[in-house]
């Protein structure tokens, strides 16, 4: 009985999408942060973060199955995971605001490279992906429950 892996697959996607939502929340919260860290004695603005999704999950059960050579076909299904969180390399925005405490000599302030609109769209996508995986999880559950009733009149 390998239906349990159906739960694991959907659960891994739920975890990945929740982390994606956390990263998006962090981006929106820091859309105006000019002092994220200090580099060479100067404040550096916040850089937009992104998740890297990868299909290769090395969980304990898949590794065990691989080492025991159990059913190679089903071990190919490994769900999804976030391998790392990377920073967006697009340049920061320069905004003219001479009264800002972090303005440079010309009066420009380096603002984070976060576009709130893009973040909101990403958030909707993550939310819908989460819902889709919940549906898949419920389907697994109902198949499991149906299988338990076989033979009961």
């Amino acid at each position: 009985m390998k239906l349990n892996t159906g739960f694991d697959i959907s659960a891994s996607a739920l975890t990945a999408n929740r982390l994606r939502m956390d990263v998006i929340s962090s981006n929106i919260a820091n859309a105006e942060t000019t002092r994220a860290k200090i580099e060479n004695g100067q404040y550096v603005p916040y850089k937009r973060k992104m998740v890297v999704l990868d299909a290769n999950q090395q969980s304990f059960s898949t590794l065990l199955d691989k080492s025991l050579n159990v059913n190679e076909k089903t071990t190919a299904l490994k769900g999804v995971r976030v391998t790392k969180i990377v920073e967006d390399t697009t340049p920061t925005k320069l905004v003219y605001n001479p009264n800002h405490p972090d303005a440079n000599a010309e009066g420009y302030v380096e603002m984070p490279n976060v576009d709130t609109t893009v973040e909101m769209i990403d958030m909707i996508a993550a939310q819908r992906a989460y819902e889709a995986n919940i549906t898949a999880l419920n389907a697994s559950k109902s198949i499991f429950q149906k299988s338990l009733t076989i033979g009961k009149g």
């Binding site: 390998k2 239906l3 892996t5 159906g6 697959i9 959907s10 891994s12 996607a13 990945a16 999704l53 990868d54 299909a55 076909k73 089903t74 190919a76 299904l77 490994k78 769900g79 999804v80 996508a125 992906a129 889709a132 995986n133 549906t135 898949a136 999880l137 389907a139 697994s140 109902s142 198949i143 149906k146 299988s147 009733t149 076989i150 033979g151 009961k152 009149g153």
Partner: protein
């Protein structure tokens, strides 16, 4: 004694296992709907069992017999293929991410698979009930 070992019962059982395997594959496709370079997989079972049962006679492989006692290959066999996982490497839904999962299609397949599973489970239950009726006589 073939109380619950008949060919049709075995086929129904194999179909039930195929829906469970398909559920895992679809769940994996949905989980990786936004993973770069991921390619969707699907379960091949109905086509295989049709070929094995001889519904589609054109494509079927048949063993050549030179002796009466040779094991029958193809025609007349029980016809229980194993469900196969095939990965579609040819298409791409989103050229930017090189991913070919169409989430709407996957959700539709998920619903269809769930209903198929219930159908097979109900049919198996029904067959068990009929055998029970035949044994007890009431």
């Amino acid at each position: 004694m073939t109380i619950l070992n008949g060919a049709s019962f075995k086929r129904m059982e194999a179909a039930l296992f195929a829906t469970e395997a398909r559920q895992r594959v679809i769940a994996n496709n949905i989980a990786n709907a936004e993973t770069p370079n991921f390619k969707r997989s699907e379960i091949l079972f109905e086509e295989l069992i049709e070929n094995a049962m001889g519904v589609n006679t054109n494509k079927r492989l048949e063993g050549f017999k030179t002796n009466e006692r040779h094991i029958t290959i193809g025609k007349g066999s029980l016809g229980l293929p194993r469900a196969q996982i095939v990965t579609d490497h040819t298409t791409a839904m989103n050229p930017l991410t090189n991913n070919n999962v169409d989430i709407e299609t996957e959700m539709a397949l998920l619903a269809k698979n769930q209903l198929n599973n219930q159908l097979y489970a109900n049919q198996i239950t029904h067959e068990i009930m009929m055998k029970k009726l035949a044994i007890t006589g009431r």
